[in-house]
């Protein structure tokens, strides 16, 4: 019975490959991108089959370096994530890429990126795993450099490559150590080396996932890429780091101890609160969305950490629920973040700059883009009845139950994480009220926004596809959650198809809640509008409403900035130039919320590294005699080591 899905997966990969070649060789990349989009859907269908049936395809994991590919249910699930974002992203690119050299090159890069992502989740040996891991890092860097050649882009790409390669080194170390001890596909690794592998993989994978404090590359690199590549980076690429983390911590390491779970929860709490807080202070849409990726990866990490801790204290059912919550949130985030990045791309195509304070009124001009974007924003803000609420509800429930265990440290970790996640959810609502308000509502603040026209068909179709996914998973997450819980090592089954029936909760009847909400809103709105309603201009003390007087992003978030002044340390300068007659001639004003991680953590580290490099440069004097001395010293040292028997 495994023939058909295997053929589907291979056909999908071939279609993406041919699509990439076609996009590069023909005049317009549209056909090639359509082929890529179809191909990734085929691969996703194979993923759905593997996830639903529970049967593996192809090879199993092995600890050698002979290339092997295969799919098991966990890979299948991440393949679904790739397809859920990859297909609409490639379809979106049909209308967003130009039919010129750079457009064709970007279309080829899109196909290569999709192949790298699929290759990473289906790799079954250590060499293929690491090979696709590196490819997954390099392709988007290339895509950014194709799309933009300015200094800012080059600097962003450099930071991205530098930080992810430090993380990559840790991934290499942990994977090679695991393979050396035969932990891939064999017995899980235990003992002292397990602690090393756990640390290395936490550093390595969380760098790529964008967990704080190793996130600094993310808000730099993601906004630079073209919209559909940003969607893939934010929606899929950082999720695959979570995939690696799940593999190492849940499959290949034998019970690494509660500290791993607690560390992951600490990183998760920091990332979700820090991510959303800095997102709230951003004034550029794509940079804001990039910070939200940090927040959502933090929520996923909270779920995974809770799952590890719960497994350690023997609460298998709740461990499985937390595991399912984390994976569901990974998929949900892929859907709504893909949607929001594609929406940002559509908006940028219509109005140019994505400066939040210079947009406005776009819901009326671009109803399709606006509505789907607002749906995505509602979903990411974790509001019922959309998918973000379902997964955040499950995560919160598992953290709450962590607070109820008898172990003091674990209970405190769970309680603090609960409060952090609750605050994060409220902050996300705050942030996306701001985004929707500034971008879609009110008066247009630029002529471009007043004359914007709706996005073309392919772009609209891709956004509707993702928005439908957000609604569907919000209304019917039950069957998927059951499957995901069964993937956890605890293997428990959860009931409920139209609702989330979880023991120890009042249950979340997703379908009934959504239907009741829609019906009640429709009835009430009808009743209110049965009565006469007169039109009148908005009351602004008798003046007509003016776009120049509207609220700004900084103004709307000011209450929070004042409350958290001690933590955020906002900086502002106002300079008023007054003439000798006492008339104000000019006012110069600037304000910003500096990214404290950059100034307090990355700044000293990079300065130290540069200082170290200056010292090390003295060794490279260029003098032949010095190099001969180095060689002689090395030879002498090796001989001495051989003499005392250290070299064996």
């Amino acid at each position: 019975m495994t023939g058909a899905p295997q053929a589907l997966a291979i056909a999908g990969v071939l279609a993406i490959f041919l699509g990439a070649i076609n996009a590069g060789s023909s005049r317009s990349p549209r056909t090639g991108l359509a082929l890529q989009s179809t191909g990734v859907l085929f691969a996703g269908a194979a993923g759905v089959w593997v996830l639903a049936s529970g049967h593996a395809l192809g090879a199993a994991f092995r600890s050698d370096i002979h290339p092997a590919f295969g799919l098991d249910p966990l890979s299948g699930f991440f393949l679904v994530i790739i397809a859920a974002v990859g297909a609409p992203a490639a379809w979106f690119a049909r209308d967003s890429l130009r039919a010129d050299g750079s457009g064709r090159a970007l279309a080829v890069a899109t196909g290569t990126f999709l192949l790298a992502l699929i290759g990473f989740v289906s790799a079954r040996d250590v060499s293929t795993f690491l090979e696709f891991w590196e490819l997954m890092t390099l392709v988007p860097a290339g895509a950014i450099l194709i799309a933009r050649q300015d200094t800012e882009a080059r600097h962003g790409v450099f930071v991205y490559l530098a930080i992810t390669h430090i993380g990559g080194a840790c991934v290499w170390a942990s994977m090679l150590a695991l393979a050396w001890h035969g932990a891939l596909g064999g017995h899980s690794l235990g003992g002292g080396l397990a602690a090393f592998v756990a640390c290395a993989s936490l550093v390595g994978f969380s760098t790529k996932a964008g967990l704080m404090p190793l996130h600094s590359w993310l808000p730099r690199a993601h906004p630079l890429a073209p919209a559909h590549i940003s969607a893939l980076m934010s929606g899929v690429m950082i999720k695959l780091a979570i995939y690696g983390l799940v593999r190492v911590l849940f499959d290949w390491l034998a019970a690494p101890g509660p500290w791993v779970g607690i560390t992951l929860m600490a990183l998760g709490s920091l990332s979700c609160l820090g991510g959303v807080l800095y997102a709230l202070m951003q004034h550029e849409l794509k940079r804001l969305l990039a910070f939200h990726s940090i927040e959502n990866v933090g929520i996923v990490a909270l779920g995974l950490g809770a799952s590890l801790v719960l497994r350690d204290i023997g609460a298998d059912t709740w461990s499985a629920i937390a595991f399912a919550a984390a994976l569901l949130h990974a998929l949900n985030h892929a859907l709504f973040k893909g949607l929001l990045f594609l929406g940002a791309g559509a908006l940028a195509q219509a109005v140019g700059s994505l400066e939040l304070d210079r947009m406005g009124g776009l819901l009326r001009r671009m109803p399709w883009t606006g509505t789907t974007f607002a749906l995505g924003a509602m979903a990411i803000a974790g509001l019922p009845p959309l998918n973000g609420f379902a997964s955040e509800w499950l995560t919160l429930q598992s953290l709450l139950h962590l607070g109820g265990v008898t172990h003091l440290g674990v209970a405190f970790a769970g309680t603090i994480a609960t409060a952090a996640l609750a605050g994060t959810a409220a902050l996300a609502v705050y942030c996306f009220v701001k985004v929707i308000g500034l971008v879609l509502l009110g008066l247009p603040r630029r002529p471009e926004c007043a004359q914007a026209s709706e996005a073309p068909g392919a772009i609209r179709a891709s956004m509707v596809f993702l928005a439908a996914g957000c609604v569907l998973l919000g209304v019917l997450p039950g069957p998927l959650v059951g499957r995901l819980a069964a993937l956890s090592p605890g293997s428990v089954s959860l009931g409920g198809s139209t609702s989330l029936e979880v023991p120890g909760t009042g249950s979340l009847p997703t379908l009934a809640l959504a239907l009741a909400l829609v019906a009640l809103v429709a009835a009430l709105a009808r009743l209110a509008h049965a009565h006469r309603i007169a039109a009148a201009p908005t009351w602004t003390c008798g003046q007509p409403p003016a776009a120049a007087l509207a609220w700004t992003s900084a103004g709307f978030t000011k209450p929070l900035r004042l409350v958290l002044e001690g933590f955020l340390r906002p900086r502002r300068e106002a300079q008023i130039i007054v003439s000798s007659t006492g008339i104000v001639e000019a006012v110069a004003y600037s304000a910003e919320v500096p990214h404290l991680f950059d100034t307090l953590l990355y700044g000293p580290v990079s300065r130290g590294a540069l200082r170290g490099a200056r010292v090390a440069r003295r060794l490279q004097s260029g003098s032949l005699r010095a190099y001969l001395i180095y060689l002689l010293a090395l030879l002498g040292a090796l001989l001495a080591l051989a003499r005392i028997g250290v070299l064996g």
Binding site: G423, A525, W539, L562
Partner: protein, 310 residues
């Protein structure tokens, strides 16, 4: 389904839909008496709602569908929240479950809809209120979750039915965690229904208002929905406080009696608090809520110290 469950369902619906404005009226009346005035009748909020229901609405320009739907969304969320809330440990199965976190989610959706409506009209006043409201909600939701966590400790569940049932057990009252959670819940109630010292419900001064802000543009039936939602939120929070925190053993009738007494007592307490306590600076409210959160952590420590669930 027993007769008591049907009666509880009736109280959920009738009480929730009809009695919210009476609580608001009662607080106003008691406050007026305490200040030496006659004050408006307890029924005054009903008269205002009836008056508004008959008036024509005003649709400001610019606006979109979001402004038009926001009052209905806010009222629908509040209405569904009423169904989640058990009365006297009982509630019929409406098909919506009885989970505490779903209740929190519905209240957040109502807040979200109103804040968006404030953006939609491009007016300046509504956003003053909603920016403050959203800022406070960050701290309120954090504290509320900690409080719910403490109340969920004895039953080991966030099901409001079992949480309210657990409050009837006498041993709950021996745990300091319960008392601490009660204090935290009081702070949440104050902030969530917009009472002093967090917000002053009697003022429409744009420099200070919080909850009244986003309502400014609305008129007619849409304003009825919003004012009813604000009143029903009083009912929700006070009943939640009574069900989770007050002891209510005994028969169904006795429990209803305790609930009535509890809601009345809390309303009077709110009026007294409003009379003696001035409004805090809005930037100091997070400090108040933060100290509530710190207290909740102490409560958790005490729960574990005295043996917790064991």
């Amino acid at each position: 389904m027993s007769g008591a469950t049907v009666a509880a369902g009736a109280v959920q619906l009738v009480g929730g839909v009809l009695l919210g404005p009476a609580i608001v009226g009662l607080i106003q009346q008691v406050k007026a008496r305490l200040q030496g005035r006659c004050g408006p009748s307890v029924l005054q909020p009903y008269r205002e709602l009836r008056r508004l229901w008959g008036k024509s609405g005003v649709a400001p320009e610019p606006r979109t569908l979001i402004y038009t739907l926001a009052p209905a969304v806010a009222a629908a969320c509040t209405g569904l929240a009423l169904l989640l809330l058990p009365i006297a440990d009982l509630a019929p199965e409406w098909g919506l479950g009885h989970d505490a976190l779903v209740l929190v989610g519905l209240l957040a959706l109502a807040r979200f809809a109103l804040a968006l409506a404030a953006w939609d009209t491009a007016g300046a006043f509504g956003l003053m209120g909603s920016a403050r409201d959203l800022m406070l909600s960050v701290f309120v939701e954090g504290l509320l979750l900690l409080v719910l966590l403490l109340f969920a400790l004895p039953p080991g569940s966030t099901d409001l039915l079992s949480m309210s049932h657990a409050a009837t057990l006498p041993e709950v009252w021996e745990k300091p965690a319960h008392w601490v959670a009660m204090i935290g819940l009081c702070l949440v109630v104050l902030a969530e229904i917009g009472r002093q010292p967090v917000d002053n419900p009697d003022t429409h001064l744009e420099l200070t208002m919080i909850h009244e802000g986003p309502l400014l543009e609305y008129a007619g039936r849409e304003l009825v929905y919003l004012q009813w939602s604000a009143a029903a939120r009083h009912w929700i929070m006070l009943v939640l406080a009574c069900e989770l925190a007050f002891p209510h053993p005994g028969s169904f009738a006795a429990q209803i009696g305790v609930l009535t007494g509890g809601v009345l007592a809390l309303s009077v307490a709110l009026a007294v608090c409003e009379t003696v306590q001035a409004k805090m600076g809005v930037l100091r409210v997070p400090l108040l809520l933060g100290s509530g959160a710190a207290l909740c952590l102490l409560g958790l420590a005490s729960w574990l110290a005295v043996g917790g669930g064991g």
